[in-house]
Amino acid sequence: MTRAVLRERLPGYVVQALLVALVAWLVSAAVANFRANMHALGVSAGFGFLHAQAGFQIAQSLVPFGPASPYLDAVIAAALNTLLVVAVASVLATIIALFVAFGRLAPHPIVRGASTLYVEVFRNVPLLLQILFWYFSAIALLPGVADSLQFGGILLNNRGLFVPSGADRPHVDGFDVAGGIAILPELMALTLGLAIYNGTFLAEIFRAGILSVPKGQIEAATTVGLSGARAALLIVLPQALRVALPAAGGQYQTLAKASSLAAAIGYPDIMQIVGGTIASQTSQALEAMALVVALYAAINLCIALVVGVANRWLLSRAPG
């Protein structure tokens, strides 16, 4: 390395060194302030609180949980609740999106118009507003426990949807419903809002994927005797998915992050329990928010990994 080269690179080294110093100073100042403030508030540091008793109840938990359980169990229950709503909403959104994507490309003007109307309306109204609407307006329209709607063994009222589990059938018991599996109205509202809103974006992604399949493919399909729905399923969809998968993966990640709006209606997910209840009860906002960030980042990473595996599987099946 000659003097000329070094002379040219020198400003770069200097700037980067200064940058490191600046970042280090900012971080150390922030940490010092934080320590001082926490000390003044008398709040301890560290994740020891995870072993302490939670002292609150969670309305929906896939693992056993009670007020005597440790905070760690609350975190696990909240994470599972998030995964539940993300999984159900993703599946529902995908189904809606596939129908709407094909609908937007249908030759029939009414089908096309209805699909376009759906996309434009539900894409431009904010997600939070949609979730609030489903929760306060739609579910509020459901009858009270005494007048529950009944479909077979399923009970529907403004306290939720009650599904029989095996022999355990839900029935009205005073002012409440006993037996069966309870699906919270919060979960219903959140799932509906997430599925319908993200369904619009997924529909556009799938539509772009379908359009990316060269017209020659459909023409070739016709010449070998495939047409209509058969051609769509066997020829168009696999190729469309290959193109759409990366973008769709991004949309599922967006859906997972958007599930944090559960905090607005009180669904016990990561944001509501860890970022809300635990943070305020223990006053350890830093640890709680660090957990929140880490959990959402982990969920996004998992989605990215799953999409990557699916992508490689799709590519490996391609003949060329």
């Binding site: 770069g12 700037v15 980067q16 940058l19 490191v20 970042v23 100042a29 922030a30 302030n33 934080f34 001082a36 403030n37 926490m38 003044a40 249908a106 030759p107 029939h108 003007p109 009414i110 089908v111 209805a114 434009e120 309306v121 894409r123 431009n124 109204v125 904010p126 997600l127 939070l128 507003l129 949609q130 609030l132 609407f133 306060f136 307006s137 509020a140 329209l141 992050k257 958007a258 944090s260 709006l261 905090a263 607005a264 944001m271 970022g275 943070a279 906002a285 830093l286 928010m289 929140v292 960030v293 959402y296 980042a297 996004n300 990473l301």
Partner: protein, 366 residues
């Protein structure tokens, strides 16, 4: 059979024949192609008609238009537009002092004029002046609204409703764009530390929900500031918004920068342009123009994201509606809140749909 053919006289063009099938029958063939599609479309038509009739009945026929309290809207058979009309002031400007309302009107009017100017510009025009306008406007608005000096001071927390949504959207857009461009350029820098910091910032922001960032700004950020320095919630929320969307803008600019072919940068070198001259004259003009449609999409997203402010207690348009529905005058039937929600949905729908049409127009012209 001749194997050789030579045309001596050219064939002139002739007019196309009139369609063989008369009009009404052509339409019918398309509309009722197969039994399945015709059944589906009849079903959809019926559904749409049913929903429309019920909605018009609720929203117009049986709606209650006048009144000052929930007494004006008994039951839930008709929309309570009286709620919307009576609460127009807090929804429009929040708690802004009545005596200083002219400042709010000025902001609204200025923005309306600015937007009319933007939309009427030819799509192929230079985006520079528009972007500069978007940066200057929120600065001017904030100075005007908050005041200080000759103008009476108004605390930022008194700004609410649509005014808040407007100011936050503009301020976010104005800060996110320059920061985002700087970060996108930083990701292409030849200095590895700068590249790493920029990449970490963008990937970090993309991995985290916006609501979490807002929660952090609301609860955690004050703890990192030295004792005695207080930054109010409004400012902290705007900063969080700006940084989050700066990361999104950085991704958009990264795409725009990558769209400029490497060959052009080489050609710029061969005509003797330095690195910065190449950036200024060749790369940035094309990158920014390529990024504009996606930037409009970010603006649409920001408008929708402002609703999240209501969750952390900043009184935006959605928050104003909810506060209104809980106020003693109007608390009661859920129908009142629903009317507020429907009104909001229509408002956001109109604004966001209009912007998305504008974005598509820009995209098509480039």
């Amino acid at each position: 059979m001749t194997s050789r053919f030579v045309r001596d006289a050219p064939i002139d063009a002739r007019a196309a024949p009139v369609a063989a099938i008369a009009w009404p029958w052509r339409g019918r063939r398309a509309r009722f192609a197969t039994p399945a599609t015709s059944a589906l479309s009849l079903l959809l038509l019926a559904l749409c008609a049913f929903v429309c009739v019920r909605f018009v009945d609720w929203a117009i026929v049986r709606a209650h238009w006048l009144g000052q309290s929930s007494a004006a809207c008994p039951g839930d058979d008709g929309a309570c537009w009286a709620f919307v009309i009576a609460r127009w002031k807090p929804w429009l400007v929040g708690n802004y002092p009545v005596g200083q309302m002219w400042r709010a009107w000025t902001c609204f009017a200025t923005f309306a004029l600015f937007w009319i100017w933007v939309v009427r510009r030819p799509p192929a025009g230079r985006p520079g002046p528009v972007l500069v306008g978007f940066v200057l406007l929120p600065i001017a608005f904030l100075i005007l609204l908050v005041g200080g000096g000759p103008l009476p001071l108004v605390a930022p927390t008194q700004i609410g409703g649509l005014l808040l949504t407007l100011v936050v959207t503009l301020a976010t857009f104005a800060t996110a764009l320059p920061i985002g461009l700087a970060i996108a350029l930083g990701r292409r820098s030849q200095w590895p530390l700068v590249r790493a910091l920029c990449a970490m910032f963008v990937e970090g922001m993309r991995a985290v929900p916006l609501l979490a960032v807002l929660f952090i700004a609301a609860t955690l950020l004050p703890l990192f500031l030295p004792r005695g320095i207080d930054v109010d919630l409004f400012t902290r929320a705007v900063i969080a918004f700006a940084l989050f969307n700066a990361a999104m803008a950085a991704e958009v600019f990264r795409g725009g920068l990558q769209a400029v072919g490497r060959g052009q940068i080489e050609a710029a070198t061969t005509v003797g342009l330095s690195h910065f001259a190449t950036l200024r004259l060749i790369v940035l003009p094309q990158a920014i123009r390529a990024a504009v449609p996606a930037l409009v999409n970010i603006m649409i997203a920001v408008i929708k994201e402002t609703t999240l402010l209501s969750v952390i207690g900043v009184n935006d348009l959605l928050g104003a509606v909810e506060i209104g529905a809980k106020s003693p005058d109007w608390v009661g039937e859920s129908n009142i809140l629903t009317s507020g929600y429907v009104f909001l949905a229509l408002a956001y729908l109109a604004v966001c749909y209009g912007l998305s049409r504008y974005s598509r127009r820009l995209e098509l012209s480039s």
